[in-house]
């Protein structure tokens, strides 16, 4: 009997024990309590345990815990930490809401101020928050996320004031720029001085420059993934902004409260009006330049498991110059315009407590047109255009096997249509089109998986594979891209990481210049010109102190293969009718260096300092006699400092008035350009007998990019006054670009026996007013 009782007790204990260890899943979303906006990159931790999860770009998380009472710590930068206790008896779908902390924004580069990052294998990754974008000083006070990204280690501008990103010495087209998951092929307004991303629409962004997740492909060096606001689910709100260069207006609110929301934002420049007025006063009307953009989004919370997003973006730039001289009969009339249109329908669905999927159907269109009217009646003209559209269907699945094991997988299918260089010539009677049959159609199906495994308390690993096929002109290019990231937590607070990514690129931007538009041209791989590929290797160490001092160092080496470049003497839009394939050459490149990043994210003074030591070289058979040469984006030293200091705060008549000062300093080693510094005696044309003009001398260029421009540096200041009452606020921003008026060299040229230096950005003050209502 005794034995029997003991047996029953043991069985009972086992049952109880098993019951106590039963695992349950808590999954759901983390959102802003006021707007219902889902928070990307927020963290959720089980209190007293080192188990946590990070929300994906849809604000979704999934975490496993034991049945019974659990306490969750939910946090996000700029929001008050929330500790939520729950008695959980079964799998639970839940939404956590966080209150904005209403404090002055921190230096919000999340990369290393987050314990989750320190412990994860992710490296060379930076999250930039919208609040940060508005505090970094910029040219003419126009907050711009691309300019903020240029402050990060290993990321630099292509040229002063330009929006394009050169990541680790690569060209701008080697960075995949996504807006709500849709590729944006041109990010430049105003010839690159502004990006197409209105700062009012941003909800988050992540830059990956190493250890790229398998979900991303199609570019050689990096990915910049930008998300837009979903719209306030609870209350109507809006904002407007008036700056020196442009103004914007945004509205958001619920169409059906807590069910359907909208977000709408429009921006335009004043430049066209200013130009028109100034010319009118001088009885001229020769130059017109304008740009605008519109963002719109609908967000429908169908039920707890399903959500639909419909996003739309379009923007356009147009530049026109007319010089009609009725006396001389001369007529110069040309127009350049370019723009993007993107739209995407996304469906978030929670299949089960462990499986989340996002399916997107997207369309992206880029058009660039150059038109030169030969007569005033527009009967004769030359027109060239570059046109690219991209229709993509993709699904990204996230399967949470356990807290130590997550499996991501998905597919993507893109259909692209590209016309690299169609040229039309029209006179009164005829229309002649060159390259009109060069529309290139391509299909790019791809599959991927990524296994995120926590091997033990110290070691984590992401291992993935992306396989794609590029079908063009009856030719198939099969490509496999392994990805691997490892982290080893040495001891608190040190972690070391390493990663490898293989990348392929099927679209290329041919560029003679770093201006951005309109002389850059998108082309695709063809049966003659194959895809480019790269290998990206990185190792790094990370130090994270609890009190907000973080430090990291990364070392990288990247090799690029079968990249293309114009051959010598090539120009944008050849009028000869020959294909762009005839005037490009293929070659290789290598980029290597070290990046160091230090930041302080707590206390009154927030700052970060980044330093990069880097090399970037290219080698093409048909250029520079086949010898390697420094790439135009090779910057040996890069030092960037950003600081933000809240000066004082006042509480008056229920209003919270805060004054803060931000400053940024950028130092870059001079970039490279090709410049003949010598000339030498030449020979006549064969049998010419000097009957026709020929050249007495030849310019001597010893090698491509033989001249390094002087070091580039500028200091910028921004003074911010924010007057807040509840959720409404007014903000005044006073900025000075290039405080000490250092004229950085844009380029040199020779004229009248002298070398001239051209600079574009002297001391430039500006003011911007923003009102949130």
């Amino acid at each position: 009997m005794k034995t029997k009782s003991l047996l029953i007790l043991i069985i009972l204990m086992n049952v109880i024990g098993l019951h106590a260890q039963k695992s349950v899943t808590v999954n759901g979303f983390i959102e802003d309590a006021y707007t219902g906006e889902r928070l990307i990159g927020a963290t959720i931790w089980l209190e007293n345990e080192s188990i946590g999860s990070i929300t994906n770009k849809y604000g979704y998380f999934s975490i496993k815990t034991k049945e019974g009472f659990s306490s969750f710590i939910v946090q996000y930068v700029g929001y008050s930490k929330s500790i939520v206790g729950m008695d959980i008896q079964s799998d639970t779908l839940v939404t956590f809401s966080l209150e904005s902390s209403n404090v002055l924004p921190e230096v919000n580069v999340i990369q290393s101020n987050d314990t989750a990052f320190l412990l994860s294998p992710a490296m060379s990754t930076y999250n930039l928050l919208p609040s940060l974008v508005k505090t970094v000083p910029s040219i003419l006070g126009e907050a711009d996320i691309m300019k903020v990204a240029q402050m990060l280690p290993g990321v630099s501008m292509t040229n002063e004031g330009q929006a394009g990103l050169s990541v680790r010495g690569g060209s701008p087209d080697q960075t995949l720029i996504l807006l709500d998951g849709v590729p944006v092929y041109n990010v430049n307004h105003l010839f690159g001085y502004l990006s197409t991303f209105n700062s009012e629409i941003l909800s988050g962004s992540t830059l990956y420059k190493g250890g790229l997740p398998s979900a991303y492909g199609g570019r050689l060096t990096s990915v910049f993934d930008i998300s837009t606001k979903d719209g306030n689910m609870n209350k109507k709100a809006g904002s407007y902004s008036i700056g020196t260069l442009a103004g914007s207006l945004s509205f958001e609110g619920p169409l059906i409260k807590e069910k359907v929301s909208y977000f709408l934002s429009a921006r335009r420049t004043w430049l066209d009006l200013l130009l028109h007025l100034s010319q009118l006063m001088n009885y001229e009307d020769e130059l017109t330049y304008g740009f605008w953009d519109i963002n719109a989004k609908l967000n429908w919370k169908i039920d707890k498991s399903d959500r639909l997003f419909l996003s739309f973006y379009t923007g356009r730039d147009a530049f026109q110059q007319n010089e009609n001289n009725s006396f001389s009969g001369s007529n110069i009339n040309y127009k350049i315009q370019w723009g993007n249109l993107t739209s995407v329908l996304r469906w978030n669905h929670i299949f089960s407590n462990a499986l989340f999927v996002n399916t997107s159907l997207s369309y992206s269109l880029y058009q660039q047109e150059y038109k030169n009217f030969i007569d005033q009646a527009d009967n004769s003209y030359f027109r060239g255009y570059n046109y690219l559209n991209d229709l993509t269907l993709k699904s990204d699945f996230s399967y949470n096997i356990s807290n130590n094991h997550r499996f991501l997988f998905g597919y993507e299918a893109s259909k692209q249509l590209l016309s690299p260089e169609v040229v039309e010539l029209k006179d009164v009677d005829t229309l002649q089109a060159l390259n009109s049959d060069t529309y290139i159609k391509s299909l790019i199906p791809s599959l991927y998986f990524e296994d995120q495994i926590i091997l033990n308390n110290k070691t984590k690993m992401n291992i993935g594979l992306r396989a794609s096929m590029y079908h063009v002109e009856k030719k198939n290019y099969w490509r496999v891209e392994p990805r691997l990231s490892l982290s080893y937590h040495l001891l608190q607070p040190f972690t070391i990481k390493a990663s490898y990514s293989r990348m392929n690129q099927y679209l290329h931007m041919l560029s003679n210049t770093s201006i951005g538009v309109p002389v850059d041209m998108w082309v695709s791989s063809t049966s003659k010109i194959g895809p480019s590929f790269s290998n990206l290797y990185s190792v790094g160490f990370y130090f994270n102190k609890e009190k907000g001092m973080n430090f990291s160092g990364e070392f990288y080496y990247s090799d690029l293969h079968e990249i293309i470049s114009y051959i010598e003497g090539a120009k944008y839009l050849q009028l000869s009718g020959c294909s762009w394939e005839d005037y490009v050459t293929m070659g290789n490149g290598e980029m290597y260096g070290a990046e160091f990043f230090a930041e302080k994210t707590t206390g009154r003074l927030n700052f970060w300092i980044s330093y990069t030591l880097s090399w970037s070289n290219r080698k093409f058979t048909e250029l520079n006699k086949g010898n390697s040469f420094p790439y135009k984006y090779d910057r040996r030293h890069q030092l960037k400092i950003y600081a933000n200091y809240p000066l004082f705060e006042l509480f008056k008549n229920g209003k919270h008035v805060s004054h803060s000062l931000s400053s940024s300093f950028v130092f870059l080693t001079g970039s490279f350009m090709t410049f003949a510094t010598q000339e030498y005696s030449g020979i006549d044309l064969p049998y010419n007998n000097s009957n026709y003009y020929w050249f007495e001398s030849r310019k001597y260029i010893n090698e491509i990019n033989n001249l390094q421009l002087p070091n580039f540096h500028h200091l910028d200041l921004s003074y911010n006054i924010k007057i807040q009452k509840g959720e409404k606020w007014n903000n005044w921003n006073f900025s000075i670009y290039n405080v000490y008026n250092h004229l950085n060299v844009y380029y040199y040229y020779k004229k009248d026996g002298e070398i001239k230096q051209v600079s574009y950005f002297p001391f430039m003050p500006s003011v911007t007013f923003t009102r949130r209502f």
Binding site: N512, K571, G577, S681, Y687, N691, L743, Y748, E754, I755
Partner: protein, 289 residues
């Protein structure tokens, strides 16, 4: 005041600050010896030019190099030493032979330059005049199978000078729309025709024996003209190409050098820069119909 404000805004946005600059050219200041010499199959006097390069901002003439010994070798055997002329050039009286290899060496106490070239062999070809309409004469050109890909066509007309001596002048207006024309002939303002700089030359691709290139010339009023076939050595052809590309780039670059790919002029001179080339000339003379 309002007007001034608007102008300031516009100026800030659209004007650049241009100023004179002193660039660090210390590593470019070295004077580079230059040697230029072309061998012609129909000329028995060979001119060589030896000089130093100059700074890009200098307006001084190129400094000739005096006291140099310049020697020409045919298939490794010396055929003579150039003599210095009053003009500063160097002269050697010698008729090069098609198919032979030549080496030129120029030296002083400080410099030593050398280069090699092979005089292209004579090209067999057929040139048939089809018709002449108005001032346009049309031909069929069949270059046969030729190894040398640098085959150029040109034309000359004859005229009498005041002292009754006959002289020939290069014709303009040579063009073709043949598939067998080198892509390089294409120029910016002739999308449906092919020609090489001022319509003075056509460059023909290597073609098989059956291929025919249709060419046309714009004729002058004279009664006699000559169609020339120039077989040009590889280096000289590359030199001519790069020169014209550089010229085109310079023409459009003007004050905005960012928009065009820069061009390095081809050189085959060891120890310096310049060109050592060879041209095998053959021609047919036609009377105007």
């Amino acid at each position: 005041m309002k007007n001034q404000f608007l102008f300031i805004v516009v100026l800030i946005l659209f004007s650049d600050c241009t100023q004179n600059a002193e660039i660090d050219v210390s590593y470019h200041n070295e004077r580079i010896p230059t040697l230029n010499c072309v061998l012609y199959s129909d000329r028995d006097s060979i001119i060589a030019d030896l000089s130093f390069s100059r700074s890009i901002i200098s307006s001084e003439p190129f400094e000739k190099i005096d006291g140099a010994k310049i020697e020409l070798f045919e298939d490794s055997v010396s055929v003579g030493i150039f003599k210095k002329l009053k003009s500063g050039h160097y002269l050697l009286n010698y008729l090069p032979n098609p198919g032979c290899s030549y080496t030129i060496e120029a030296s002083t106490g400080e410099i030593y330059l050398s280069a090699n070239v092979k005089m292209p062999s004579s090209v067999e070809y057929k040139l048939v005049r089809i018709d002449t309409l108005y001032n346009i004469s049309n031909f069929q050109f069949n270059p046969g199978r030729h190894k040398d890909s640098n085959l150029w066509l040109s034309a000359f007309y004859y005229s009498q000078d005041s002292d009754s001596t006959e002289s020939k002048t290069m014709l303009g207006g040579i063009y073709s729309n043949s598939l067998f024309l080198d892509q390089f002939n294409r120029s910016i303002d002739s999308w449906d025709r092919f020609s090489f700089l001022y319509d003075k030359y056509l460059k023909v691709l290597p073609v098989d024996t059956l291929s025919v290139v249709n060419i046309s010339f714009g004729l002058m009023g004279q009664s006699k003209y000559e169609v020339a076939v120039l077989a040009i050595s590889n280096d000289l052809s590359a030199y001519m190409k790069s020169t014209i590309l550089a010229f085109n780039s310079d023409m459009f670059i003007d004050e905005s050098p960012l928009n065009y790919s820069s061009v390095q002029i081809h050189s085959n001179i060891e120890g310096g820069i310049g060109i050592f080339g060879a041209i095998n000339y053959s021609s047919k003379i036609f009377s105007r119909l």
